[in-house]
Amino acid sequence: MLFLLQDGITNGAIYALLGLALVLVFAVTRVILIPQGEFVTYGALTYATLASGQVPGTARLAVAMGVVAFVLDLVMRRRALRPALIVQSLLINVALPTAILALTLTLADRQTPIAIDIALSLLIVGTIGLYLYRIAFAPIAHTSVLVLLIAAVGCHLALQGIGLVFFGAEGQRGPPLSNAAFTIDPLRFTGQSIAVYVVTLALIIALWLLFSFTLYGKALRATAVNRLGARLVGIRTALSGQIAFLLAAVIGAISGILIVPITTLYYDTGFLIGLKGFVAAIIGGLVSYPLTAIAALLVGSVEAFSSFYASNFKEVIVFALIIPVLLLRSLAAPAVDEENE
């Protein structure tokens, strides 16, 4: 029993991270981030590829997306092109990913410590997240949640297909962050699972600090509450969106790197993991961070128990969790006059 719970909490911690990222992105941009799963896969498999001494295709993808983002920037601002803007856009969108690619190429076949592999993976996936928002979502940021959602599904399809091209159909595993292990009867703790707990907790605290005490964090929250109002007081909402996507991509990549030593990841595994983070986010109501974290632990535990007792129905039970929660929420929610345009 206890080991099931332990297993559940390890998984739940990952779902919590993803759930938090989903809530973050939704709150700031109103995008339901279906491609979150791809960030997980990209992070995990980029890390695994780097660790095996090869150059991951994602580094090139980042450059390609950066170039597209740069061209989009030029086209969008063609009426007010100032040299400073061009240089800035060139630096962020082209020079940055090219530098990362160059770094990856030089470091790939050398024996590098895993810390460097991790840092590179995060950089690569983070920039992909940044450009993804610029390319796919910034131009339609003003449209309805439904249109954004469909665009998100489109991104998911494209990124998943690209993932297959880069990483192949076979699954991969990455080296663990730590090989330590110890036993507190009757449970056995591995260094990796400890790392999962520590990193999750640290990230949650970091996010909390970010949103409570920094100007950028407050700007993100302001964008979430009222886009127009945020713009009127001088917050660049497009920038907020990019930051949210960057954070989500990095969080996704971290989750991927944390689990790839524990389970074999395939190019399409991320989607299902992302969906479960999603279940947690929904239970948390897409607004509350602490609730989402708690819900994620619940989802992880339910999954662990149901895969033990009724493995056939594992996914169904996890997804069915949503219904009673949704019902309770909508019954308990006061009759707010919402206008979903």
């Binding site: 489109g154 494209a158 998943q160 999603f278 129905f313 996914e315 219904i323 949704l326 909508s330 006059d337």
Partner: protein
């Protein structure tokens, strides 16, 4: 309607396609698939684009339709024509069950809920023994009329496209009716809808069932087209794809569903066929390109391709002329007791520890204009919400037309003859002024959804529109009757709200800041209109900030401050009342 001609042309064109010499049979198969997908998408247009209820679960309803006919025709040997109504009923019944659980979910919870049961039902299809588990059911008999068996794709083509065109016409009829207006009002939030007697949960359930039945029909056709069913096409993936189809085509437009189906089906086919030649068969390239094209398409036309296309076509919507002689029978009005239409007695409303309304009492008599004034936050709008049943009372009583209201719903209060406007204008921006105003007469019409679909509602509809037009003329907006409500100035929108309220044929009119945003001349016209209404026997209770407007108009003024009634009397008495002056100007005694 002027839309009839293009529909006929389209039908003729579709009917002619199979007879074009040299038409590749494969194209007909594609058209069959487009038709099947268009049926589901059309349901989604009504559900998602118009009604604002996003569903990822439509594929499951196709599954109900397909499996019903598959089981009944193979295991029990029923004729496919006999299973058609059964398939539709099964889809509809499941829609009722699922709709009762999920349609009342609000906001983002609904689409998420539909994903959950979409996944669950797919799993059910693939696990149940009598549905053939993952292998499904094969050897389903083809559709047949007499000896003509529709085995080939170009035979069933006619059945599919007849269904598509029929459903499109029926759906357009439904949208252009009393029920259709109610559906279109759903997206604008439920408070305004309820204020005119629309029952949002019931209306939501109706569209939910309608969309499910269309999906069931598509499933039924699919089963007899493929002559085999298995769970795959009814999974969550397919559910998401149907939503694609609707959004790409234009989720707010019936023909957008058809166009979207054509775009998505053809795009996928082309990509699958030609990409391998271009890129030498790297796996899944078509999904990559499909995903990218989808994103690009949404950026070019975020509202879908249909409205974008329509801008280039010189098709103009014309409205049938309204016959002004048609009249709605007046609402049966309950006789008011001792001349007070509205009696508020020690009404109290607390939000948590905050007392918003503190034992307020006043009344509104017949043929009287009463103004409720007070500084911001005095509780004026809360009082309105208590009277109209939007909020429940904490204690005290409110009686309307001599009937004490306890837990009365807004619809019931409207039925008693109280109608209202809103402080923040609640019009459906993409409906014309005429349609918005006709919404006010919702309770005075009788035609239901089925009558509307079959166009048997025209008499009822003509009377409703004539009444709406009469009220628009009364408030002096005839020139704007065919404009979209969202394009009017704020002041005009307020006047439209008054016309809408008048359309309900009220005895008591509640106006929440009607003069805000009006120019001086417009205010004078509004005052004249209200005086006119009073002289013809109506009572008015209004909340207003414009003292000049109130003092020249009201018979009686009630002053609220911090939720408490501090004064009541004639405008002259109120002007000199020291308590009122203190509340407004903060003068120290």
């Amino acid at each position: 309607m002027a839309q009839r001609l293009p529909v006929m042309l389209f039908a003729l064109m579709m009917a002619a396609i199979p007879f074009v010499p040299g038409m590749p049979p494969f194209w007909i198969v594609l058209l069959d698939n487009i038709g099947l997908s268009a049926l589901v998408a059309m349901g989604l247009v009504l559900l998602t684009g118009v009604g604002g209820l996003t569903s990822f679960g439509q594929a499951a309803f196709c599954g109900f339709g397909a499996y019903t006919t598959a089981v009944l025709t193979t295991a029990y040997g029923l004729s496919p024509w006999l299973t058609l109504p059964l398939s539709l009923i099964v889809s509809g019944v499941f829609a009722v069950a699922l709709g009762l659980i999920t349609a009342r979910l609000s906001g983002h919870y609904l689409p998420l809920g539909t994903i959950a049961w979409g996944l669950g039902l797919f799993y059910l299809f693939s696990k149940l023994e009598f549905l053939g588990r993952n292998d499904g059911i094969s050897a389903i008999p083809p559709l047949a009329i007499g000896s003509l068996k529709m085995i080939s794709p170009d035979a069933i083509y006619f059945a599919i496209w007849a269904a598509v065109i029929l459903c499109a016409v029926v759906t357009m009829n439904l949208l252009d009716s009393r029920t259709g207006r109610a559906i279109r009002a759903l997206r604008r939030g439920h408070v305004a809808a309820e204020a005119f007697g629309i029952h949002p949960p019931r209306t939501k359930l109706l569209v939910f069932i309608y969309a499910a039945v269309l999906a069931g029909l598509s499933g039924w056709l699919y089963a007899h087209f493929q002559r085999a069913v298995n769970p795959t096409p009814f999974g969550a993936q397919a559910g998401i794809e149907y939503l694609f189809v609707a959004v790409v085509g234009g989720a707010g437009y019936v023909w957008g569903g058809v166009l979207g189906a054509a775009i998505v089906v053809v795009l996928k086919e082309v990509l699958q066929d030609y990409l391998p030649y271009l890129f030498h068969g790297e796996g899944q390239l078509e999904t990559i390109v499909f995903g990218m094209l989808l994103v690009a398409l949404l950026q070019l036309a975020p509202n879908g391709v249909w409205p974008w296309l329509m801008r280039w076509l010189p098709l103009k919507q014309t409205r049938k002329a309204i016959d002004p002689s048609l009249k709605l029978p007046p609402r049966r009005k309950p006789a008011a007791i001792d001349d007070s239409l509205l009696i508020i007695d020690h009404a109290r409303k607390e939000f948590g520890g905050v007392v918003a309304i503190n034992d307020v009492s006043f009344d509104v008599g017949a043929r009287e204009i009463v103004a409720l004034i007070g500084p911001n936050g005095a509780g004026k709008s809360t009082t309105f919400n208590l009277v109209t049943g939007v909020l429940p009372l904490s204690s005290g009583t409110i009686s309307v037309m001599g009937q004490t209201l306890e837990h009365a719903k807004p619809q019931d209060i409207t039925r008693l003859g109280v109608s209202r406007t809103f402080q923040h204008v609640k019009l459906v921006a993409d409906m014309t002024v005429l349609e918005n105003v006709a919404l006010g007469a919702h309770l005075r019409g009788h035609a239901g959804a089925i009558k509307s679909m079959l166009r048997l509602d025209r008499g009822d509809e003509a009377r409703l529109l004539a009444e709406a037009m009469r009220q628009i003329e009364r408030v002096g907006l005839s020139a704007q009757a065919d404009m979209l409500a969202g394009n009017l100035s704020l002041g005009q929108q307020r006047i439209v709200e008054i016309a809408r309220a008048l359309c309900a044929d009220p005895s008591l009119l509640l106006l929440d800041e009607p003069a805000a945003g009006l120019r001086h001349m417009e205010k004078q016209q509004l005052a004249a209109l209200l005086r006119n209404l009073r002289d013809s026997g109506m009572s008015v209770l209004l909340v207003e900030h414009d003292m000049g407007f109130v003092m020249g108009l009201a018979n009686r003024v009630v002053v609220l401050d911090f939720g408490t009634r501090i004064a009541e009397g004639s405008p002259e008495a109120i002007k000199t009342n020291p308590d009122v002056i203190r509340a407004y100007l903060g003068a120290t005694p």
